[in-house]
């Protein structure tokens, strides 16, 4: 059982997860100086989606989507469950690969990516094996050490802040809507958190929605600061604007290069995302097949993920192209379509049962 606050923090960190590394320059490339408004409406959409999932989960309390599918559709539900397992694994592999790309392109160019994957998988596996409480508490403990240095470094960077970089503002009101990938990538992906939802003591719904909201806010704040610090011209071109910002932060004359510390702190976000996804996958296995042991399946997942992370895409460029083409469809399939179907079927069954009862009565 994890507390409401822990779940809230999990939601925020999960959503920030890889977003800070991957999409920022894409956003700015799309909408220039107004890019900071993108996450806001995307976040709004995410909140609506979250409400949909909450409706689904509330329809049969204490059950995860997989269990709901199982009881609703039986064997077909099992197929849905396996699909979800695949989806979670895929997303986890994505996160891992983003991590190793980032590390390879920035501070550790020669380390083989698989080393990063394996190390993170080991730790995440250990945490997940300890159960949901550990997942929640780990995140709760880590968050301050994550947020404080990050925002402090951004504030330090404001030495080179220049409002001119944010002009001209509000050129084209529609520009900010030209990037639908954003709907899918950070916000619909939070669906994996619904696997943790039943484990929350109370008030999970509020925590989820609030979490998505504050995640959207902080993303937009980060984009805003990126614009003010790097200017749209650079920020749109550089692969990892955050990295460049922290690279150019200077702590007085002595510490001119603190980026590696901040980088390493930041990738903890990716770790948390990975941990949640691994938990979701592990939980799915548990609910589908009711195994008696824990560790073997974590080991299996580790093997699968470590390979999937290498095979998920050839190179970041191909990944970006694919992303913009398919991610939204792909994610909305499992995060919107299936939940809606589940909700409908449950509602139908309930009404049918009600009618039959009334007929009998």
């Amino acid at each position: 059982m994890i507390s409401r606050t822990q779940f809230y923090l999990l939601t925020v960190n999960y959503t920030l997860g890889t977003t800070l590394f991957v999409t920022i320059n894409a956003m700015i490339g799309e909408a220039g100086t107004d890019a900071w408004m993108m996450p806001l409406w995307a976040g709004l959409f995410g909140m609506i989606a979250a409400l949909l999932w909450i409706a689904l989960l509330k329809s049969s309390p204490g059950r995860s989507p997989v269990e709901i599918a199982l009881e609703a559709w039986g064997p077909a539900g099992a197929i849905i469950g396996i699909l979800y397992l695949a989806v979670f694994c895929l997303t986890a592999a994505w996160a891992l690969r983003n991590l190793s790309d980032f590390m390879n392109e920035t501070i550790m160019p020669n380390t083989p990516p698989t080393m990063f994957h394996v190390m993170f998988l080991l730790v995440a596996g250990y945490a997940v094996a300890q159960g949901s409480e550990t997942v929640g508490r780990l995140n709760a403990v880590v968050t301050p050490f994550l947020a404080v240095p990050f925002w402090i470094s951004l504030t330090l960077a404001t030495a080179v802040w220049d409002w001119e970089r944010l002009e001209p503002a509000f050129r084209d009101p529609w520009a900010i809507f030209r990037f639908p990938v954003l709907l899918g990538f950070p916000f619909l992906e939070t669906f994996s958190l619904t696997m943790l939802y039943p484990k929350v003591r109370s008030g999970a719904a509020g925590a989820l929605v609030l979490g998505v909201a504050s995640a959207a806010l902080s993303i937009s704040l980060v984009v805003f600061m990126t614009l003010g610090l790097l200017g749209p011209e650079r920020a749109a071109r550089i692969n990892y604007p955050i990295y460049t910002i922290v690279q150019e932060v200077e702590l007085g004359q002595a510490f001119v290069n603190i980026h590696s510390v901040l980088t390493v702190i930041l990738i903890t976000l990716i770790f948390i995302k990975l941990m949640v996804l691994l938990y979701a996958a592990f939980e799915t296995i548990g609910q589908l097949f009711r195994p008696a042991s824990r560790w073997p399946h974590l080991l299996a997942l580790a093997i699968l993920l470590s390979s999937a992370a290498v095979a998920i895409y050839e190179n970041p460029i191909q990944n970006r192209i694919m992303d913009e083409a398919y991610t939204f469809i792909f994610i909305s399939f499992y995060a919107v379509l299936i939940p809606v179907l589940l909700l409908l079927s449950g509602w139908l069954r309930r009404t049918a049962a009600g009618r039959s009862r009334s007929r009998r009565g």
Binding site: S3, T5, T111, M119, V123, A254, V256, V261, I267
Partner: protein, 485 residues
Amino acid sequence: MGRSTRDRAIGGRLSDDMQALLGSPPDLICRSLNLDADRAAQLIYLDSLVDSSAIDEFLVRSVRQNGFAEEPASAGRQFMRELPSGAPYGRILDEAAQAVVAGQCVLVEDKRERILIIGAFEAPGRQVEEPKSEPTIRGPQEGFTESIRTNIGLIRKRITSPKLRFENMTIGSRSASTVMIAWMDGLAPEALVREARSRLAAIRTDSVLESSYLEEYIQDRILSPFPTILNTERPDKTAAHLLEGKVAILTDGTPYVLIAPLTFFEMFSSSEDYYQRADIATFIRWIRLISFFVAVYAPSLYVAATTFHQELIPTALLISLSAQREGVPLPAFLEIMLMEIVFEIIREAGLRMPRAVGQALSIVGAIVLGQAAVEAGLISAAVVIVVAVTGITNFVVPVYSFGMSQRLLRFSFILLAGFMGLFGILCGTLMLIAHLVSLKSFGVPYMTPFAPASTADWLDVLVRAPRPWMNPNRLPASIQRLKRK
């Protein structure tokens, strides 16, 4: 006539058989007191374990004056009890033997066919002294001793409350050691006391020579570098914890008392904090926290910074460091590893060696290993500094067993840092946190009051708030959780 022989038999037989049973040890005394014609008595005891003066002055006289004529009071079973005369001889012999080796004195009155077992126990042992392992400047200077009765006294004299409870248990099939659970009735949660009782009862062992025996049996997780049960030899500390509603486990034969449950941040607060002024205590507590991080991370961060992320180091420092490393044969990772191991060896030697030689050792350690190694160009000076600093900071933490776990962590972190630099350290840290938050001590999460968070307690964890600001009746969150259960 026949009667007399039979009488002769019971006392004599008992003493003879006792001799046989114990292998006629030199300290087994069988005195036969010849009183007037029809009253003879036998005293059997080990004079290594009994207070012989008490025997002479009290026992013998009272026997002479026929002091044991009346039935022994039912109270004070420990002190004096009577074996049922009707019992089969074998059982009588066993009980008598058990009593004798436990330091009691067996009195056989032939006439009345009574066998009395009278406690005259007085084992050799040291007096109450200053606690060796956790001394304080201000505050009581007395520590527990090896005698459990003294220890109980030391606690009772601090908590003069009828609510103070002691419960006796005998653990160890051979050593049959006395173990006592102590708690404050009403303060300590029922669940906690029950848990402690059941865990102790579940122990199957032949002997308990030190409380660590028990600790290994009753701790929550075996594979963990962190102690989940506090051990102390300070009566005042024990009393303080009892008053917080915790459970203390006293073991006969050791001055170390176990206290449960234990949470992570309690290990940073020494009993002295509460004797110092609040602000100073707070400052010192933070120093401890910092030095914990230094002790665990400093060497690994050095390795990471100097072999993976040199850009972290300010230019001037980097130049001088790399100048120091000119011509140093070993990679920094091995340097640190080597020095750390050498340092651990020296420390261990310092613990074990006789006091007189300590001086020589420190000289060897300081000059030979420090200066000479640097001047010979085997080790760069910075490494020596780092190792020295970590070594010192390691002693700051008030709980010794916690210091040990820090050393363990330090080495694993150095390994990780040498492996993947800061990323390795990050992984290690996450692993560590995952482990810490998953730990439990008697059902209390180890990281209380941070995960799960209970802000009210931070007043006594992050700072040592002045007593008037704190609610005296408030129990720590860890205990409250148990109460809620």
